[in-house]
Each structure stands twice: as structure tokens, then as C-alpha cells.
Subunit: 324 residues, 5 copies
Amino acid sequence: MISGRRYRTGEDRPEQLDVAGSDSFATAPDSFSWFDIVEPDPDDLDRLRSAFSLHPVTVEDTMHRRQRPKVELFDEYVYVVLRPLTLTTEPSIALQDHEVHVIAGRDFIVTLRWAPEFPMQEVQARWNRHPELRDVGFAIYTLLDEVVDGYLTAVEALEDEADDLEDLVFERDAEGDADILQQRLFRLKRDTVVLRRSAMPLRQGIDLIQEDASISTPALAPYFRDVMDHVIRVVELADNVRDLLTSLLEVRVAQAANRLNEAMKSMTAWAGIVLVPTLIAGIYGMNFDHMPELSWQLGYPMALGVMAGSALGLYVYFKKRGWL
Amino acid sequence: MISGRRYRTGEDRPEQLDVAGSDSFATAPDSFSWFDIVEPDPDDLDRLRSAFSLHPVTVEDTMHRRQRPKVELFDEYVYVVLRPLTLTTEPSIALQDHEVHVIAGRDFIVTLRWAPEFPMQEVQARWNRHPELRDVGFAIYTLLDEVVDGYLTAVEALEDEADDLEDLVFERDAEGDADILQQRLFRLKRDTVVLRRSAMPLRQGIDLIQEDASISTPALAPYFRDVMDHVIRVVELADNVRDLLTSLLEVRVAQAANRLNEAMKSMTAWAGIVLVPTLIAGIYGMNFDHMPELSWQLGYPMALGVMAGSALGLYVYFKKRGWL
Amino acid sequence: MISGRRYRTGEDRPEQLDVAGSDSFATAPDSFSWFDIVEPDPDDLDRLRSAFSLHPVTVEDTMHRRQRPKVELFDEYVYVVLRPLTLTTEPSIALQDHEVHVIAGRDFIVTLRWAPEFPMQEVQARWNRHPELRDVGFAIYTLLDEVVDGYLTAVEALEDEADDLEDLVFERDAEGDADILQQRLFRLKRDTVVLRRSAMPLRQGIDLIQEDASISTPALAPYFRDVMDHVIRVVELADNVRDLLTSLLEVRVAQAANRLNEAMKSMTAWAGIVLVPTLIAGIYGMNFDHMPELSWQLGYPMALGVMAGSALGLYVYFKKRGWL
Amino acid sequence: MISGRRYRTGEDRPEQLDVAGSDSFATAPDSFSWFDIVEPDPDDLDRLRSAFSLHPVTVEDTMHRRQRPKVELFDEYVYVVLRPLTLTTEPSIALQDHEVHVIAGRDFIVTLRWAPEFPMQEVQARWNRHPELRDVGFAIYTLLDEVVDGYLTAVEALEDEADDLEDLVFERDAEGDADILQQRLFRLKRDTVVLRRSAMPLRQGIDLIQEDASISTPALAPYFRDVMDHVIRVVELADNVRDLLTSLLEVRVAQAANRLNEAMKSMTAWAGIVLVPTLIAGIYGMNFDHMPELSWQLGYPMALGVMAGSALGLYVYFKKRGWL
Amino acid sequence: MISGRRYRTGEDRPEQLDVAGSDSFATAPDSFSWFDIVEPDPDDLDRLRSAFSLHPVTVEDTMHRRQRPKVELFDEYVYVVLRPLTLTTEPSIALQDHEVHVIAGRDFIVTLRWAPEFPMQEVQARWNRHPELRDVGFAIYTLLDEVVDGYLTAVEALEDEADDLEDLVFERDAEGDADILQQRLFRLKRDTVVLRRSAMPLRQGIDLIQEDASISTPALAPYFRDVMDHVIRVVELADNVRDLLTSLLEVRVAQAANRLNEAMKSMTAWAGIVLVPTLIAGIYGMNFDHMPELSWQLGYPMALGVMAGSALGLYVYFKKRGWL
């Protein structure tokens, strides 16, 4: 599905373009055109290629998913691959991976999107709010900034989840769901790696843009520096979460060993409390002809008393040593 | 809450400015103005923006908390974000995170602070003590130096805590609070990461300042080199504490395994000491018609003696092998 | 086994060369020659050496297997060592390691292959499809691109295997084959290291090629940039898989400790359930003359009831605490 | 305590200076002066400052302990902070941390030392042996070289300790002192980190010196290159020891798990050996009216034989499986 | 022990030199002299120093063992320290550490060797085979190449050992020698670190040589590039072995935990199988007057049957759950 808008210089509202026609990707003097293609089919890509003289390697790249984020400068256009992330809350909080390709020249930008589609409303809104800045650099900037803001939102959600997990790890009685906690720790670590891998290559990409004065004009330079700063912050926060999770996993191992220790001690203590009276019972169950206690009137209650006493003594002893 | 002070060249004491008025952020020739805003509201930021022609990305940055420490040079001003840390002692020793933004031009500096407010008395005092150095570079230096001194104080507190934890880890009998020790190790590690993340970006920032001769004048260059040196020291000491804590966590795992081993051996030993007499009692509890010992006059004391002897023998044996 | 093909400029189909003859490696004006040698014997290498004036170190390198991937520029030729990987599915999914050496000059390319032979059909097909690009750079590019595509296929297979292993690790009841799972984790990690080691040196190699304008002509530059991008992606994905596997191994250790804990608790519970009734039986097995219960009509069922009751009580108690 | 010596050009023996007088830090033409101050008091530092026009940040640095090793070039002098380490053997082998500050100009050097004082005899002796090289560069070199030689001695002592610990870790029967071994491993690791942190910053410092032709004269360049080489060797050896210790700690964890395994198996085996005869005794302790064995003449010895036989059989079985 | 050989230009065989005489280290026009000194005594070093005007730091370095591998360029000579490794097979496969120092000028080379002596036959043979290349660069190259080939042989032996250990780790029944396996893993890791530390500094050293056109002549440049390539390969392979060993150690810990788990379950199962019949025996050992089963004709075999049945039932149950 293709949609096109043309922004004439000095005019506030864009003109809707009919991109179904044969001449659909034409640009016009004194204007900037924005084409947005969702789930492009081979035919769309073919028309794109001939309209903007795309290089074979660009065409090749647009035909495969799971590309690495990158910025490639060609003579007539710049090719940008983005891997935005959004947060989904259904069924539980998770990262949703998107892919957006951008082909942008002096007076046009083409955005290619695939399902699940990265939402562009906010990008369009920011673009519309600044008619004075409408050129290719600002178009790329708004897109980049929106994507990187998404990363910041995501990394903050990951930080919150890491805080929750930290609380769970140090909660005394939360043992029943040890495996589920483990799994949440692991999943969070994996998400952090995905986030880092999506954001990291943008450093190199924005570097390239910053060196190209035709995109990063003096007016726009502070904006690109700001995006770069946010990318670095995302990567630092992600590294942070990752380090924290690694430590939490280590803590888990140490905790499990401690708990095992406690379980072992408590088992030893209970075994003693049961087995010592059993031994006493065994003694008075022996069949010797001459066992004076057996004929005592109070032999039986006395034996029960000794059993109870030994059990109680052991209980108090182990309780004191902290084994129970 | 805004407060302003104007330092006229050659005069020792500053003049208090009325910043509530419309003309509030005006600067004056032959003087240096210092504005300090606590918890700026949108209106304050708006007045700032128009008084000093701030760039939109600066305005944007001042509106969001948890910014990454950074230095950004604009044509007319330098924008600095700091994340100072102070030590609080209530209820227990912990790091308190602050945020300070600085906008500084040729003859003014604006400091923006948010609750919990980073205390500026010491910075002001140092600034007041050196009337001969009153320019933008020295203003930024006193602030930076105060922040980095705070990091040094913090990192030394973390080192002390790490030493305490080390002692606890190697104390023989401190087992009862294993989980609390684990938690303190983890919390300390996290604090160390926070400290490192606050200090680390200042290296890049001070680098930028050192390259700008209008801030880092020849007279000030040794001062900035000194701050840089302290930043590196903070990072090195923090790395140090972190490595130490990682090793302590590893030691904890090995210790837990050792203790488990000991608990297991002691359990085996006690089980033997109880179960062997139980077996003997069981033997003399058998109902065979022909068991000569049963009719011996001293059969019973003898059996008790054998039981006691086997228990004692096992006790001595296990004691010797170090299982008890 | 040597085969040769000569591509005359402007002609579509190659001429088959007879390379058994003495003059076999001759090149011809207005044409590009492609020689492919499988399992070269010393005699072949000798003829190569004299035909293309190879340097002694090149000759030396072609005589030993398990070379490191590299690109070496000599005055008259470029020497490339590649270590392609292909996926085999028999008996199970595994990486197959190949080795290809390339000697390429202005108007020829020699590919040396050893068993197991890296298949070249796809490379030849791509070369044949672009008669307009037939020069040494494009020959090297098609080969490199094919090899790197193989890496991408391989790394994606490793990712799938890693996903499978992750599912297995977090599957509740998959305990029986713990060692086999461990082994699969380890093998996958090792394969990832092999893949990384094969791909990584190509970054440096392609760098060298990109700086040599005689191979990386302006027309080919975007192609080599594209291959480079894919190499980086392979390395990043491989790093990713490796990190994931490291975390999974850590999770395994924590899980094993948890399971041990559970096994210990369940053992303690069952021991209690069996040993408490045993103690009761022991008590009524004592031989005291005066034990009133022994003569009760319902003494026996009562004793059985107490035993069953204590066992049931303990069972319910431990079930509630989650020890069973 | 201040002492001063003046070395006149062409003269072999130095002249002792009276540094208590007001003019005490004066230098003289055609001579090189060496001032050594132990535990300088504020007054000494004040006189130093005015005698050699020290920069405020230098004065500040000399007033605080635990400075980071560094080299700072000022217009009129170079400021060097060193953190030498010496080995003490009382009560056990340990690293002793020192701190030495150096202020050196064209014709003087001031060394500041604090308790525990770094011994300077060897440095003075080497200086005295080379009258032809007496300038500021050689003074700094002899000091640096002595400090770095101390690091080499220290790192070799740490290597020896690591070898001892390795032997202890792999000694079969050394289990009793598991915790002490752990502690020694940890302490050694910490010492290694201290050593590395003391030596590492010297790389950067010597780099600075090497670039300053007034200190690192052509005649001295090979000497400074040699010191640099030793610093790198110290760092490499320290890294080595650290890696080794990390591996040893890992080995300890694996060993503890193995030993636990063995303890568990041996416990299972012994439990079986005691409990199976107990079961047999229990059987013949039953009170059935019709138990033919009970009335056999040889019933009792037979029962004892079955018990002994089952215990022996289990013992042999477990011995064979390696559980005992 | 000193031996000397002189290679006259255009002559194939060298002339033996008498190096005991006073003039022993003299060089001659149109020739290249090779001096080889085994276990030099202070006198030899003294003669060397004066013959070739060695710098004091070179003399100092030749007097101490365990130097770091390095290349130092002086005006009149180049000083090279090498740490070759050879494989010994007695008593078991191990790395033998050697030390070789090289002093080489325009028309001479001096090799200093210490016990255990690094064998030089192969180096001499290669030197003899190429009379056309006899200059200082080629002398250094043959030596370097021989040393690096030794590293390659060593790293391949370490790889084989690592493969053996991997097989042992994943072999099901190899538990008896857990500690020995651990030790072999650790020793191999240590050897890998030694190898890496010996080879790594050569990268920097060969870099230095490659930049010096008087040693690395255009004719020799490809040779030095080849050695460099081999050094990188050694380091990469060593890193590889190290990573593999780290993973194997981790796997060991996870395996030990798994085995412990299995041992615990099997213990629980056997305890149940023995203790449940013991409980039954205890029940029929009670002395109640009214226990109908006791007087049944088949009471005893029935009781035995119940015991056997419960044991069998538990056995089958635990077998099914995989606890046995």
C-alpha cells in the first residue's frame, strides 16, 4: 500500500498524491515529497528502482528482512535501515521488533515498512509542526529521533522490570517459582541484548550522517548531536541493565547454595530428633532376660519421658545453632 | 525559585539581582552574572530561552530528567549536564542522585537544579574566594571540581563498605545472615555501577572543554587537567571496587559449596553414630529361641556397652577425619 | 583436477580451455580467464608459480591447510584465503569447514579448492549473469559474497538451534537428558566460535580490498561495502548467540542448584513420613511389663491409626510448604 | 624533615645544604640540587611553593594522600606522583604501599615522602655512580626505575604465591582449610589488582616524559624506553596472575561440587550398609506365632550371617562402583 | 660457549671463526658474520659490549632472564628478545620455555641462548639454503619464522589436548578422576596463557621491524608480513582454546550439580526401598495383645510378601521417574 504527500514550499498543508498511476514517484520543483509504502510488493520495488535509479545492492537489501541497522550514502540518495522497537503489553510486557527502510534524496523521502508496521503518526506530526525545516535532513532526523525515543522508552521499561526482579530475588520466601524467576531474568537479558544490537549500529550511522553536510546542515547539526547523545544513553543504560542481570544471576547461584545448606542442616536436625528416640525405643525392645527397667512400675512413662526429653533437647540445641 | 548575583569587575561582593522582573536575565558590561534556578517551571525555561537564545534541543533537554552527563558547545553558550552524587547517612549509608544543568556564556552562568537539590554553598564559597579568576571557565571548573570531589568521597565510602563486606565474608561464623550479606554485596555493586556511569561521561565532556580555548584558558588549563585526573581516579577506584565485589561473589559460591560439604559430612557422621547402636538394639530385639546372650546375667549392660562403644568409636573416628 | 574457462569481451559464453597442455595457464588479450583447481598436486602448484610469478610465501601458503582467512596484495596479483562454511544435515545439523585459496590478477583468477570441496556452481552462475562486470574485482566479489551468504545461512541455523535449546532449558520436565543438553549447548558455542573466527578476519581483508582502486573500482565499491556490511552482521549475530549461550549455561547451574534444593526437601519430607511411624512402632515394640495400651482391645488399630495419622499430617504439612 | 645535597658539575661528592634557613631551596648555577622532604608539614609546602612558584593545583595535590600515579608537565617544572610498592615479610608476605611526589625543574629535584617511607638509598647510590648523567631526566629515571624494579620484585612474589596456591588447590587431601585457601586466593587477587593499579598509570606518564625532549634527552631515551618496557611487563605478569587466580577460583567451585558428590555417594553407601541389616533385624523381631526360623537351633547365627553378608556384599558393591 | 661463522658474498660455505682470540667479534667487508653464544658469561657480554658498542640498557637486559619478547631499534643495531616454546613429550606433553636474545647490525648477527637451549639447526639450514638473501633482515626473519612455527606446532598440540579433554568431559562414566580432569583443564589453560603471552608482544615487535626499511627491505617485506600473519593466527587459535576451556570448566560445574542431583534422587529412592519394609517389620514387632495377624498361619510369609511388594513397588515407581 503506497501513500504519497507533496509539501510545496511556503504552503502549510500537503497535497495528496495518486501513486497508483504510472508516473507515481515523480518529484516536483519547489516541493518535498514523502512516499510511504507498507509491505511493498516486487512491483513497487521495481517502480522505485527505476524512478530513483537505485543501485542493485539497495534493491537487493530492500528485498530481505532482518537487515542490520545502517546508513549508506550513494551519489543520488541515502539509504537507511532502521530496526525500531515498541513495547507491547499484551499478553505481557514484551519488545516488538519492526523494520523500516528509508531512501531519501534532495527533495524526497521514501519509507518502506513491513508488518508489524512501525507507527508513523508521531513522525508525521512533528514534520508537519516545522514547515520551516522541511528538507531531507529534517525528515531523516524526525524519523531517527522517534526511533531512538522508542529505544529510551523500551530501556526504561527494561530497567523497571530489572528492579522488580531484584526485589523478587531478595524476597525471603519467594522460592516456589524459582524457575520462573530464572526464566524472567534470562528473557530480560535477551531483550536487553536485542535492544543494544538495534541501537548500537546507529552510532556509526549517525556519524556518517554528521559528516555529510548536505543532510546534516548547520541548522540541523545540534539535532543530530542530540540524537547521537540519546543513542549513547540507550546503549549505556542497556549495558547497565545487562551488568545488573549478570550479577543477579550470580546472586541466584549463591543463594541456591545457601538455601541448600539450610535445607541440609534442617534435615540433619529433624533426622536427629526422630532417630534418637527410635534408638531408645529399640533399646527397650531388646529381649534380654535381665533388664531391670522393664519391670519397673514407671518404666514405660519414664522411657517415653526420656524419648521426649532427648527430642526436646535436640530441638532446643539445633534451634539455638540456627539449624531449624 | 530563581536567585541572581552580579559580580562587577574589581568589586569583591556581589550585587543581588531581582529576577522576578521582566528584564530578569539581563547581563551587564564589566560584570559576570550567576543565576541559580531551583525546580524551574516551564515559564522560567521560556524566559531563559528567549534571554539567551537557547537552541530548541537545549530547551528540550532541560525539560526532561535523568539526562546523561554531557558537555555541548553551542555558538553562544555551553550546555553542561551533571549528575552529582552525595552520601546520605539516613537511614543507612546510601548514594543520593542529583541533577544539575548548566548554561554558561561569556559573562553569565545559569545553574538549574531539581529536588533533591545538589548543595551549592561550597561552590559559591570557592568562587567568592578567587575574585581574580571570575570568568565562565572558572565558574564551570568550581562546579565540576565540587561534583568530582563528591564522587571521590562516594567512591571512598564504597571502598570502606567493600572492606567491611570482605571481613564479613571471611568471618568464620557469620552464616545466619547469608542472604543479607548477599544483598549488601549486590547493592554495593549496583551503587558502584551508578557511580561509574555518572563519572565516566565527564571524561569526554572535560576533553571537549579542554579543546575550547575560550573556556579552558591557559590560566585554567592546569585546573581542568586536575579535574580530569580526579575523574579518571574515580573511575579506576570504582572499577577496583567492582572487581573486588565480583571476586567476593565468586568466593561466596565456593564457600557455600564448602559449607555444604561440611554439613553433609557432619550429617553422615551423626547418622552413623545413631544408626549403628540402633542396629545393635535391633539385633537383640530379634525373637530367636536360641540367643545365648539374652540369658546372660550381664547381657543387657554388655549390649549397652557395645552400643556406647560403637558410638564413641565412630565419634572419635569422624572427629579425627575432621567430619565433626 | 584443473578446469579453465576463457571469457572474451563482448562474448556471452566462455571457451573451455585445455589446461593439461604445457601452456595451460596462459592468458589472452581482451579476455578474462578463470582456472579452477581441485586438490592441486605439487606439480600444479609448480606450474602456477611459474605461470604467474608467485612469491615464495604464496607458494608456501598454498601448500598448507588450515590457513587463516586473509587478503594479501602483491605487485602482480592478489592472494585471498577463504574458509567457507556450509551446513550439512547428515547425520545431524553441523557446520562443514572448507578452504578456498584465490590468486587473481588483472585478467585472470585461479581458485584452489580442497576436499570437502566448496561448491562453486552458484558463484559461476552469478558471474555468468553479469557479462558487463567481468573483471577481477567482480570475480572476487561474487566469491566473497557467496562465502559470506553461507556464513549468514549458518549463523541463522545456529540462532534456530539456540532458540530450541532455550526452550529445552526452560521446559519443566526435561531433566533426564541434562548431560546431552549440556553437550548441545557446548557444541553450539564451539560452532559459534568457529563461525566467528572464519568471518572476523574478512573485515580486515575487505578493508584492504576497498583501499585498492584496481580491484574495488567505483562501480564495484557499493558491492564491497555491502559484503562488508554482511560480514559485520554475521559477527554481531554470532556474538549474540554466544552471549545467549553463556547466559543459558549460567541458568543451567542455577537451575541445577534449585532442583537439588527441591530434591533435598522432598527427601526430608518423605524421610519424616516414614520415620515417624517407625518410631511409634518402636515404642509399642518395647518390652515393659506395664504398658497399659498393649492390653487394650483396640490398642493395635489405634496404634495403626496414630501412625497413619502422623504420616498423613506430615504429608499435608509438607505439601502445604511446597516440599512435596 | 628536609635534607638537601648540591652536586656541582665536575665534582664527584655533593655538598650538604642547610635547608632550615630562610633561603633554603635556592638553586645555584653549574650545579644540580636534590631536596628530600620526609613527612612535609604545611610550612615546608609553603616554602616549596614560593621557592619554585608551584601552581595551586600542585600545592593542592601535595596536601592529599592516596593520589593517582601521574606525570604533569608545567612550564617551569614537572610534577610526578609515584605509588611504590615494597614487600614486607613480617608477619607474613604482604605488599607495603608507599607514596612519593616529585617536583623537578631544570637544575633541581624535590622528593616528598610520607610514612611508611619509600627507601631512597638505592636511588641515591645509582645517581652517585653516574656523575656524567646528572640532570633532571636522569634523576627522574633512577627514581622511576627503582620504583618499577620494586613492582617487578612484587609481581614475582605474587607469581610464587600463586604457584603455591595452585599446588594447594590440586593437593588431594587439603580440605580442612578450605576457607583459608579461599581467603588466600582472594587476598592474592586483591594484591594483584593493587599492583596493577599502581603500575598501569605509569605507561601514560612515561609516554608524556618521552615526548618531552628536555627531560627525555637523546642520551636518556633508551633508558626511558627500558623503564616503559618493564612497566608493560609488570602489567602483563599481573594480568597473568589474575587470570590464573580467576581460573583457580572456578576450579575450586567445580572441586567443591565434585567433593560434595563423593560425600553424597559415600553417605548413601554407608546408609545402605547399616540400614539393610537393621531391616533384617526388624524382620526377626516380628512377633508372628509361626516364624519357623525363630525356633531353628542355628537361627540366630544364621541371621547374624545374613546381616554380615548383606553388609559385606553392599560394601564390595559400592567399593567397586567407587562410592566408597 | 661461542661459535662464529663468516659468510663471504658469492661463496656458498661459511668460514669457521676462532672467537676465543682477543679480536673475536670483528666483522669483515663483503661478508656477513653470525656469532652464536650459549650461556654467555659476564666476560663474553663484556667483549660483546665493546665490540659492538652496546648501549648500557642492552647490556643490562642481556644479564637478566625472563625478559619480555621485544624489538628495540638502536642507531647501530637492533636488539630482539624472543621466548621460543618447544614441545617436550617426556614425561608427558608439556611446553618447554626458551629464551633467545639477538643483537644484529648491518653485517652481523649475534644470538645469545641459555639452557634449556633453543635448537638452531633448522634456522641455520634455512639460512644456508638461500645464499642470495644473506643479510641482517633475512637472518632475523629465519629466526622469527622458526620461533613462530614453534608456536603454531605448540598451539596445535594444545588444540588436540583440548579436544581430548572435551571428549572426557562429555563421556558418561568418567567420574572417578574428576579432580585429575579438572587439573588437566587448568594446566592446559595455563599453558595457553603462557603461549599467548610469548607470541602476543611479537605483533608490536614485527610492526617495528616492518617500519624499518633497512631490515624489512622490499624483497623481505612479504616474508615479514607472512610471519606477522602467523603470529596473529597463533594468538587467535590460543584465544580459541582458552574460550573453549572456560566453557568446559563452566560445563563441569553444571555437570557436577546435575550428578549431585541424580545422586540425591537415587539416595532418596534407595532409602525409601529399605525404610518402608523396616516400618512394616516394626509394626509386626509391636507387642499388642490383640494383633490378629500375628496368629495367622500365613502371617509371616504374608508380612514378608507385603515388605517385598512395597520394596518392589517403590523400585518400579522410582525407576519409572528416572530416579534410579
